[in-house]
């Protein structure tokens, strides 16, 4: 108790020095809180935009479909999936899709295409499909004999709205599937690669075309909060409880994108190391100075029976008090800063494009780790660098420290 008192009151002795120490801890905390909130916010923003555009946050497939896609690896009972996803809280929307390759032609132009059967209503709800139509209109129904082409593909075929496109593929029963569809719209997803091959059909029409009635290859799911993806993906998996299905979070089905994001995020840790150094240098200097200055006091304390461990406690408690104060103050300031940048964001004068997605503004994110990690950084780095001066104080030789010359 009395050690606590000494430690606490020591804080107020060298006000300027204390202020300097406090500022380095406070500044370190705010920097770290801002960087983490900012990094998490912008990265999650990019990931969210990227995945929401087409992929979704979670996908469901037949077990082996992702490794080796095939027309025959289908999800056969959508009603169970619909019911399950309905029940899971945090799920925002989902949409079923059918995929296969085909050959499309118009007049003398022919191109290899990826046929995508999509549910017009659900696709629009999940990935804002209709917003990406730059010419023409959306599907009139799930069974209409209509096609929407990616922009690049339309250019290759020199196709315009109202043209009639012939498409050939292989149906699930082994027969040749071929049909003529009226081009009603052209879409631009932001991803040129996709747009050069995308041949969208309404889901039911596509199922009929490929003789896969009632079946789909993929269900893309979006959730409300990207940070919940691991948890919700597990819940869906458990609830479906079907070994023939696989449920994957975006980290798995968009692996290369995930690795790229992860590599970018490593930069944040380098920043944190810099902050640790700021705190460590600021603290070490001042703690060492006060210990040297108070050597006689530690000598008196030792002479009258204070144990070395108790002297260590006095030094460490003082810096801990100060660190806790700085953490509380820093948390308040950090919250204000992060709240501001979460709601206002920072609009970019030169929008950046990532994977075909244009990003116009970056926003911070407010999460627990943007406070937890800085608190840990401040506490541990301050405590760690104070250990050396504390040991020095504990080893004070009373006889020497009080000698007069």
């Amino acid at each position: 108790m009395v050690l606590l008192k000494i430690a606490f009151r020591n804080i107020f002795r060298q006000r300027r020095r204390t202020l300097f120490t406090a500022l380095s801890m406070f500044g370190g905390f705010i920097l770290a809180a801002f960087f983490i909130g900012w990094a998490d916010g912008t990265y999650n923003g990019i990931i969210d935009m990227f995945t929401r555009n087409r992929l979704g946050h979670i996908q469901i497939h037949e077990k082996d479909y992702l490794d080796r896609p095939s027309l025959y690896k289908t999800i056969n009972d959508m009603s169970v999936i619909n019911r399950t996803l309905e029940e899971v809280s945090g799920v925002e929307s989902w949409t079923p899709r059918l995929y296969t390759a085909g050959l499309a032609s118009l007049d003398d132009k022919t191109a290899g295409v990826q046929i995508l059967g999509i549910d017009p209503v659900r696709e629009n709800k999940t990935t804002s499909f209709n917003k990406k139509i730059i010419e023409g209109r959306a599907f009139s129904s799930a069974s209409a004999a209509e096609v929407i082409l990616g922009k690049g593909l339309a250019e290759i075929l020199k196709a315009g709205v109202e043209d009639e496109i012939v498409v050939i593929s292989q149906a699930a029963d082994g027969s040749i599937a071929n049909d003529i569809y009226r081009l009603i719209g052209i879409t631009e997803s932001g991803d040129e690669m996709t747009d050069r091959t995308a041949f969208y059909l309404p889901l039911e029409e596509a199922q009929k075309f490929l003789v896969l009635e009632g079946r789909v290859h993929e269900v893309a799911v979006t959730i409300n909060n990207l940070n919940d993806v691991e948890r919700i993906h597990r819940i869906i998996e458990e609830k479906l409880d079907n070994p023939r299905l696989s449920v994957e979070p975006w980290q798995e089905f968009a692996r290369s994108f995930y690795m790229a994001m992860k590599a970018d995020k490593e930069g944040m840790w380098i920043m944190l190391v810099v902050i640790i150094i700021i705190v460590a240098v600021g603290v070490l200097n001042t703690v060492l100075m006060s210990v040297l200055e108070r050597q006689r006091e530690y000598g008196v304390l030792r002479a009258v029976g204070t144990k070395p461990s108790q002297v260590i406690r006095i030094v460490l408690l003082e810096i801990t008090f100060l660190a806790l104060f700085c953490i509380v103050a820093g948390a308040i300031a950090g919250l204000l800063i992060n709240t501001y940048f979460a709601s206002h964001g920072l609009s970019l004068s030169n929008p950046i494009t990532y994977g075909g997605i244009e990003i116009r503004a970056m926003r911070s994110e407010i999460n627990t780790r943007s406070f937890f990690i800085p608190a840990l950084i401040v506490l541990l780095s301050a405590g760690f660098v104070s250990l050396f001066p504390a040991l020095k104080a504990a080893r004070t030789d009373p006889a020497r420290s009080m000698r007069f010359h």
Binding site: V2, R13, R296, V300, A303, V304, G305, A399, M402, F404
Partner: protein, 239 residues
Amino acid sequence: MEEMNVRKIKDYIVYTEGLEKTYKDNGLEVKAVRGIDLRLKSGEFTAVVGPSGSGKTTLLNIISGLDTATRGEVWLKGRLLSKMKKRELADFRRDNIGFIFQAYNLIPVLRVEENVEYIMLLQGVNKLERHKRVLEILDEVGLQGMGNRLPPKLSGGQQQRVAIARAMVSRPALILADEPTANLDSKTGGALLDMMKELNRKTGMTFLFSTHDNIVVERARRVITLQDGKILKDEVKER
């Protein structure tokens, strides 16, 4: 013979035999203490005098166990210090010796009563008892009503009174005071010494001073003169 020796040692509160201390300073050997046999009986009020550098502080530090002798032994209350473990020695010192230094005696952030109470806190004395004893001793050293002050706000003489109170409050057998009047004017120093002498008379605690101040010498009952680390004279005053 051996047994007789032990009996003899037990009769003294401080008993040293052949104390020597050699400091090594940049390869240069400094013999601070060269063969001191010092014996103090309980209740003494004794001053070690001698010019600066004669070894007074070194001697006191060795007696208290704050420093170790190069040769020779110290017994306090019949116990051989060199046989004690570090921790044991620290506790023994805390419980049996009160220190008064020339200056910088007090913890500046602790109030007067907290400074006085400190050792009792380490000893685990209960609150009621602590409070009672702090009030008593502050009264005795003439600091009644000053318990709430912080040391830097006090005069040098008042600070030394607090130091005396702290040294005496847990009733140690021995008080070691290294030049306690060096930073005080003669009037203040004299008053302080009179007060300590009175406390010595009342409590029977043993006082050992180091000093080259006449104020102390005049009041000491026994004066041991050091020169170059050796005892030159050892006089007990009449009366």
